[in-house]
Symmetry: C2
Amino acid sequence: MPRTLTSDPTTDTPSTEALAAACQRASRQVAQLPTAAKNRVLEAMADRLQAHEDAILDANARDLEYAQKHDISAAMVDRLELNPARIAKMADALREVASFEDPVGRMADVRRRPSGIEVGKMRIPLGVIAMIYESRPNVTADAAGLCFKAGNGVVLRGGSEAFHSNHAIADALHAALDAHDIPPAAITLLPTTDRSAITELIQCDESIDLVIPRGGEGLIRFVDTNSHIPVIKHYKGVCHLYVDRAADLDVAMRLLIDGKLSRQAVCNALETLLVHEDVADDFLPQAYETLDEAGVELRGCDRTQAALPDVTPATDDDYGAEFLGPILAVKVVGDYDAATNHIAQFGSNHTDVIATDDLPTARRFTREVDSSVVLVNASSRFSDGGQLGLGAEIGISTTKLHAFGPMGLDALTTEKFVVHGQGETRHDLSTLT
Amino acid sequence: MPRTLTSDPTTDTPSTEALAAACQRASRQVAQLPTAAKNRVLEAMADRLQAHEDAILDANARDLEYAQKHDISAAMVDRLELNPARIAKMADALREVASFEDPVGRMADVRRRPSGIEVGKMRIPLGVIAMIYESRPNVTADAAGLCFKAGNGVVLRGGSEAFHSNHAIADALHAALDAHDIPPAAITLLPTTDRSAITELIQCDESIDLVIPRGGEGLIRFVDTNSHIPVIKHYKGVCHLYVDRAADLDVAMRLLIDGKLSRQAVCNALETLLVHEDVADDFLPQAYETLDEAGVELRGCDRTQAALPDVTPATDDDYGAEFLGPILAVKVVGDYDAATNHIAQFGSNHTDVIATDDLPTARRFTREVDSSVVLVNASSRFSDGGQLGLGAEIGISTTKLHAFGPMGLDALTTEKFVVHGQGETRHDLSTLT
């Protein structure tokens, strides 16, 4: 059910292509803003969000009414619903982005070359980011703030269920841009949630530099198949905890509880537990007791079932499944290699954890496991931009180009080479003229 | 005219997909090799190239014979031809790659977070690189060496004109891999130069992580349009030299001569000269004299022609043209903004140069010009991996994802997060159980 800002067919709505091109023009101005100017605008965005609170809540009420009429799930309604506290949180997130170090202009690796030239790398914005997302209206403000701070333009395409909320939030952000003489096109929210707008958007390869789809695998595959713009792909988060024979079992239990019970519907929650056979008899019963009490169903291999008779058998589909809920696949492995081979076969290159006190095993695990975040004796739930020290996170990439893992401000920039000389040439000019 | 290793139709040639998958399996072994082991293999590759000199020259003679029969241009024959000195140079390039710092395993940005966990970033190989290139057989050894050193597998698809030479070189490299118990599939040369093999190769998105097409714009667009694997795009190198009003005109002349006369058919040669009106009458006559004497045709705007009556008028097509030969487009500009606007309109985001002694102007140029290499008072010909300090270069990207500008070993890797803890959890466990 697409929803559109201008339902009047006589109104001239600009094309998606024209909107993306306008965003690109505006982005050139954003790219050149000094850090202090960007921070003032981000603070102003935060203030305007709170000043527009009534309008945003009114718009949100319309979206909630629409949701009730269209039998949208309670979970989605919860994600959609705004209140003064949630608006304040959105505003605070923008103020926090203002406080982050500005990556743009940072010089790295500056050195003199034998020729005499001085070479360095300067961090620069990517240009225009297209962001496609669903339900949560706070993404509108979060993504706009991060892209803006990194000197980029952003074209936002939110879900139809949050249509009015997103536009009310965008209005507040635009008021802040306008007050600072920055073209509102720098933060463009598409005026329609028609699916064809996504198709149009991801074909604007003249003006858009990167597409970040945040949603289900279907959306990501659709964007990747239909676009020649680079796409940040975030597929499943099938996170493993491997309890090594040399694990501190108390630590392992902490990681299991935090990884499975602190929040189940997130991509950094645990989905599979691998246990070394030497510690299975010690570890599995206490794991079962705690998880069973918390309502988590365990599905295990033959050896798991031998240790825990009440456990359901695991099918092949259970390994590699992203349950996002109260199910955990369990496997007893004969050695370290069996554990890492299992992760290589069933993992999703997202986040994997080992519990071990053996240094060589820990070092092998960090080198050999091909995931964007590899943790030793720490919870998978730390796989998050904020927790890892990126400030905030615009998305997580589970493929290796152009970023791998949680993406912060740096991942919204690239580097160019800057060279200073005093008339150096590569050739002896006397041989050329 | 595709050429194929097995012309016998009864022979079972493995499919391109099977070859790419075998390369991926081999790449996992390469990814884990310690630096010293990789360096020993690179040295062995160099030694084998020289030991196989006769076989390589025989194969090259067959390619040259084929070229003569098929009226291939003298320039291409020159690029194709091998001799003992060129083989020695290829071997030395591999020995040089052995001497480069290994990016794999390098830890960066290691810091403690408030939660107690220690977070760092570890550089890791990308996986498998597909390299598509033409004529020069040395690319076979160069690309294989760089990809191997960065811990990747590589699938090479060389041009049909160098078919036998490329296979003879690959044989030498495989002998070195084999002697060190590394599967030869780690360096795979496709057994056919049929164009359909390119199409098959770039669709192996399960096994190939990055495609680097080195060739004309047609090849690059073909690969980009037909692949969903990330592609390094190197379009034109339309390099500008802007001679500012505050330029040291002797320096400007040095940059002009080196940039235009040292080598004309390369992507970092100058194609357009922009001159500030205040210095045009001083600079243009001497520029004309030097270039005219060297056989370079100048094509200029009205104001250039006013200063230099013998200059041909420049058409719109001349600005933005990659002449790769003895032609230079010239324009007199009224101010700095006119110069950088011209570069923004006609440039190719590759390499641009300013000659100026004015600090604020130099600083604006480095910030504002959106090219992968921006130089102040230094020749455009320094825009090269070796000159910039990358060691060697596998290609140049003129788009910003995943790398921008000349790409060395680092651009053949990515980073993952490595976290160490002592049982830290994100949540207070007492609230969870």
